[in-house]
Amino acid sequence: MAAAAEPRPALRLENVSHQFGSHAHPETALAGVSASAAAGTVTGLIGPDGAGKTTLLRLVAGLLRLQSGRIEVLGEDVAGNPDGARARLGYMPQRFGLYEDLTVRENLELYAKVQNVPPQAWTARGSELMHMTGLAPFLGRLSGRLSGGMKQKLGLACTLVRIPELLLLDEPTVGVDPVSRRELWAIIDHLVRTEGLTVLVSTSYLDEAERCERVLLLHEGRLVSATDPSEFAAQTSGRSFQVSAEGMGKRRLQAELAQTPGVLDATIQGSFVRIVTAVGAPPPSASALAPGLTLNITQVPPRFEDSFVALLKTDGAVSLAAQTPAPSASGDAAGPTAHRTAPPAAAEEEPVILAAQLTRRFGDFLAVDAISFAVRRGEIFGLLGANGAGKSTTFRMLCGLLPATSGTLRVAGYDLRRAAASARARIGYMAQKFSLYGDLSVLENLRFFASAYRLRDPQRRARIDWALEEFALGAHAAAVSRELPLGYKQRLALACALMHEPQILFLDEPTSGVDPLARREFWRRINALAESGVTVLVTTHFMEEAEYCDRLAVLAQGKVLASGDPDSLKARVRTADHPQPTMEDAFIALLEAAAQPHAA
C-alpha cells in the first residue's frame, strides 16, 4: 500500500480547534493547530498544564468529537472513519488503562483478544513483549501490585499487543522513577527502529522532549513552535549564562536576578544561578543588583528548557505563572512569615531536624534501615529516591504519624517519641495530592485550615488575607478548589500548609507532574521561605527538584546511599567523556553501584 512516491505524513492536523464548556462560557482548549508528523519519527508534545496536550491526543484517537478542522491518521480522516483510523493506532491514556485486579498475563491476553491478535501470532508476540519490558517474571502478579514503572511498561505492552502504525502516549512517565523512564524510552526507540512506528508523545519532562525528532510546543491551545529539539534549544543560543556572586548567597542572588529587567529565567543549579536573557538584553551587571557586588558571569550552551521558558514568557498571552507577583525574597522583607531574622552565618546551633539510626520495620520488611541525617535551620534538604525507597515511611515518622521502630528522631527540639503533638504544631505539611477539600472554595479551604491550626480571629483573618494576597488567590477566593488549574491548587495547598507560620515545612513530591513554569514559581516561594529561616524538607524522585536543595540524601531500599550537596553528588560521576553529568546521571550511577554487591 505504501508504494506511492510521495511519503505521506503519518499524522496530519489541519486547523484543529476545540472548545469545552457551554456556549455561554466556552473554554478554548485548542485554537487552529496545524502540524504533521512524518512516518517513522517520534514527535514530542510539550507545553504547560492545560495547554491542550491531552485534548489533542484524544482528538487524534477519535475519543472526542472533532469540532473544527481536519485530522488525518495514516491518510484516514478521523472524523469520517473513526473506526478505520482507530484500528491502526495505539493509544495509552495517562492512567495506562490497566485492570488492577487482573494479573499481568490476564491484562495482556485481554488486549490481545480485544485487538484480534491470532493465537498463533500471540505466542511469539507475547514473549517478545515480555522480553522487551522485562515483565516475564511477574506474569502471575496482579497488576495493581506492580510498581509505577512496571505498570507503565505493562500499559505500553498492552497497547503494543498488535503493533500500531501510530502510537499515541499521554504523559507516559508521570510519577515514574528515572530508571524506569530510561527503560521506557529504550523500548520506544527500539520500536521506531525495528517496526517503523510513528510516535506522538506528550510529556512534561523536557529531557524527554529533547530525545524526539520533532517538538510541538502548545501554549493555551495554540501551537507556539514546531521544530526539531536542537533548533528549539538554539533559540536561546548566546543568551544562557551561569552566574555566581561573591558576598551573596545563591538563593538571594537568584531572587534578585529573577526580578532584573531583561532576565527571562533564573534558576538555581547547584551552587550557581542559571539565567536566560531576553533577545538583545545585555547580561545583568553587578551594579544593577547591589553596590559593591562582584558577579562572575560565564556564557553556557543553551539548554532545551531555556528556550521553553523563554518562549512561553515572551509568548503574547502571559502565562499564569508570570502574572503572579514575585514573592518577597530578600532577607529584610521576608513577608509576614514571622521568622524575619536571617539564619545566622555561624550555623553551629542544634539541627532543626535530627535523625539518628532511624529504623522502621513492617513485619519482616525493613522499610527504613538505620538512616541518619541532620537539617539545619533555613536549609532545604532533599530525600531523593525511587518509589519504594523508604521516602514516605521516613516522612511519616518525621511528621509524627508513624512511630519509629528504633533510633532517635528530633524535630524542632522535640523528641517525637514523647512530644509528637508539640513538634507537629511547628510543622507545615504539603501532601503530594495537595489534601485540599475539592468541594470547598479557596476561601473556605483557607478558613478551614486556619481553624484546624487553632488560629483565633484577629490573627486568623490576618493570615487568610496574607494567603490571598501573597499567593495571588484573591481573584479566585470564591472558586471551587477542585476546578482550579494545577498550579493554583498547588499554591493554595502551600498557603494552607503555611497558615500557622510553621518553622519547618515538609513537602512530599511537591511539583510532580507540574510544568516547568509552575515549578519555577513554586520554588521561588520555597526559596523565599528558606531565606526567611524556615527549614524545608522535600521528598522527590524528580531530579530537577533535587537541584533546588542545599543538601540531599539519596535513598534506596531503606538505606542512605549517599548524601551531600548537588554539586558534590554530581561530581562523583564526572568522567572525561561525561564532563557535565546531570543529577539524574548521578542518581542512576549511585543506584547501579548499590545494586552491584560490594563494588567498592
Binding site: 484524544r58 468529537r65 492512567r95 488503562g97 483478544k113 480485544v114
Partner: protein
C-alpha cells in the same frame, strides 16, 4: 463475526475474573441479599407478635382470671400484671408495655348485672398501624371470651352475628409470606442497577474504558460484556433468594418456575438498562452509587408495593409508582408465590416490564459512544 466473538469472549473472561476477585461484587450480589432476607425473614414483620401487655386487675376473682388466661393463651400477647392503673401507667410511659387492659374493681359485678361490663383498653398509638392491630386482637379476644362464657352457661351467643373470616391467598396471614417474595425484586435491583453502574463507573475512574475505546472492540461488545455477567449474577441472586425463601422460611410457592424465570429475566434486563444508563451519566463510583440508590433501590423498596400498599398511597405518588419497574415485578412475584400463575396479573405486568427493559436498554445503547464527550 468470528473476530467479534473473539473480542467478546476476551471481555467476558475479564469481567468474570474481576467479579470473582472483587469481594465487593460478590458481597453485593450474594451477601447483601442473604442479609436482607434474614432481616426480613426473621426480624421485620408487620404482624404484632408477643406484644407486651399490662393487665390491671383491681379486684381479682375467677371471672377476671378466666379472661387473663384467655389473653395469655394467644400468641399475640405477653402479659404483666399490675394491681393499680398508676403503676401500669408508669410501665406504659417507660415503653415497657404497648397496651393496658384495665379491669376496674366493679368489673365482675357489672358483668353479672347487665351482661356487659366496661373493659378499659389503652393502646400506644405511636405506631398507628400496630395500634389498630392490637386493638383488633383485643376486641377479638374479648368477643371470643364472651362467646365462650355464654356457651359455658348454656346461654345464646352474646353477639347476633358470628363472624367467621376466611382469608384468601395467605391463609396464615403471615406478612413474611408476602415480604420475602418482594425481596427478589430488591436483590435484582442491587445487582442489575447498583452493581452494574458501580463497575462501569470504576472503569471510567481508572481510565480502562478510555483505553478499551481505542481498541477494535465495538461499543456493542463492550456493553454486551457488561450485560451478560451481571445478568447471570442477578439470576443467581434470584435463585438463591427463592431457595432460601422456600426452604428456610417456608414461604409457599404456588406458581411455575418457568414463569418466574421469564418475568425475572425481563425485570433484570430493565434494571441492567437503568444501570448502564446511570453509568453513562455518572463517571465516578460515588455519584453512580448515589444515583443508583436514589432512582432504583429506594423506589424499589418504597414505591413498589413491596412494603407499602400502593392502593393506599395518595394519587400523585400512585401515579409515580407506574414508572418504577419493581412495581410490576413485585405484583407478579406476590401473585406467583401466594396465588399461582394468575395470567390476568402476570401478563400485563410482564408486558410493562418488557417495555421498560426495551426503553432503558435502548436508551443506554443510544447514549453509549466510543467517545469521551
Amino acid at each position: 463475526m468470528n473476530e467479534s466473538l473473539e473480542r467478546l469472549t476476551g471481555l467476558l473472561r475479564k469481567e468474570a475474573l474481576q467479579i470473582l476477585r472483587d469481594p465487593s461484587a460478590l458481597a453485593i450480589a450474594f451477601v447483601l441479599p442473604a442479609m436482607l432476607l434474614i432481616i426480613f425473614g426473621y426480624g421485620v414483620t408487620l404482624d404484632p407478635h408477643r406484644v407486651a401487655l399490662a393487665v390491671v386487675v383491681e379486684q381479682p376473682d375467677a371471672v377476671t382470671h378466666s379472661f387473663v388466661a384467655q389473653l395469655r393463651g394467644t400468641p399475640y400477647f405477653t402479659t404483666e400484671s399490675f394491681s393499680t392503673i398508676q403503676s401500669a401507667d408508669r410501665a406504659f410511659d417507660a415503653d415497657r408495655v404497648s397496651a393496658i387492659v384495665w379491669f376496674r374493681s366493679d368489673f365482675t359485678r357489672r358483668l353479672a348485672s347487665r351482661g356487659a361490663a366496661p373493659l378499659g383498653i389503652i393502646v400506644n398509638g405511636v405506631d398507628a398501624n400496630t395500634a389498630r392491630l392490637i386493638e383488633g386482637y383485643l376486641q377479638q379476644t374479648w368477643a371470643n371470651w364472651l362467646a365462650m362464657r355464654s356457651r359455658e352457661r348454656g346461654l345464646p351467643a352474646g353477639l347476633p352475628i358470628d363472624l367467621e373470616p376466611r382469608i384468601r391467598f395467605n391463609p396464615a396471614v403471615r406478612s413474611r409470606d408476602y415480604l420475602v417474595p418482594g425481596l427478589i425484586a430488591i436483590v435484582m435491583t442491587l445487582t442489575g442497577a447498583l452493581l452494574t453502574a458501580l463497575v462501569i463507573a470504576r472503569e471510567w475512574e481508572r481510565g480502562t474504558l478510555e483505553a478499551l475505546m481505542v481498541t477494535r472492540a465495538t461499543i456493542r461488545e463492550i456493553l454486551l460484556a457488561k450485560l451478560v455477567p451481571y445478568f447471570l449474577l442477578g439470576m443467581g441472586g434470584m435463585v438463591a433468594t427463592l431457595v432460601l425463601a422456600v426452604w428456610l422460611f417456608g414461604v409457599p410457592f404456588h406458581g411455575s418456575l418457568l414463569v418466574l424465570t421469564g418475568v425475572s429475566a425481563l425485570f433484570l434486563l430493565a434494571a441492567l438498562g437503568m444501570g448502564l444508563l446511570i453509568s453513562s451519566v455518572a463517571r465516578n463510583q460515588f455519584v453512580a452509587g448515589q444515583i443508583a440508590i436514589i432512582v432504583t433501590f429506594l423506589p424499589a423498596f418504597i414505591l413498589s408495593g413491596f412494603v407499602f400498599d400502593i392502593g393506599s398511597m395518595p394519587w400523585p405518588i400512585r401515579l409515580l409508582t407506574h414508572v418504577v419497574a419493581a412495581r410490576y415485578f413485585v405484583a407478579t412475584l406476590q401473585s406467583l408465590f401466594l396465588a399461582g400463575d394468575i395470567w390476568s396479573v402476570i401478563l400485563p405486568n410482564a408486558l410493562a416490564l418488557a417495555v421498560m427493559a426495551f426503553v432503558f436498554l435502548g436508551a443506554a445503547r443510544l447514549r453509549a459512544r466510543k467517545r469521551l464527550d
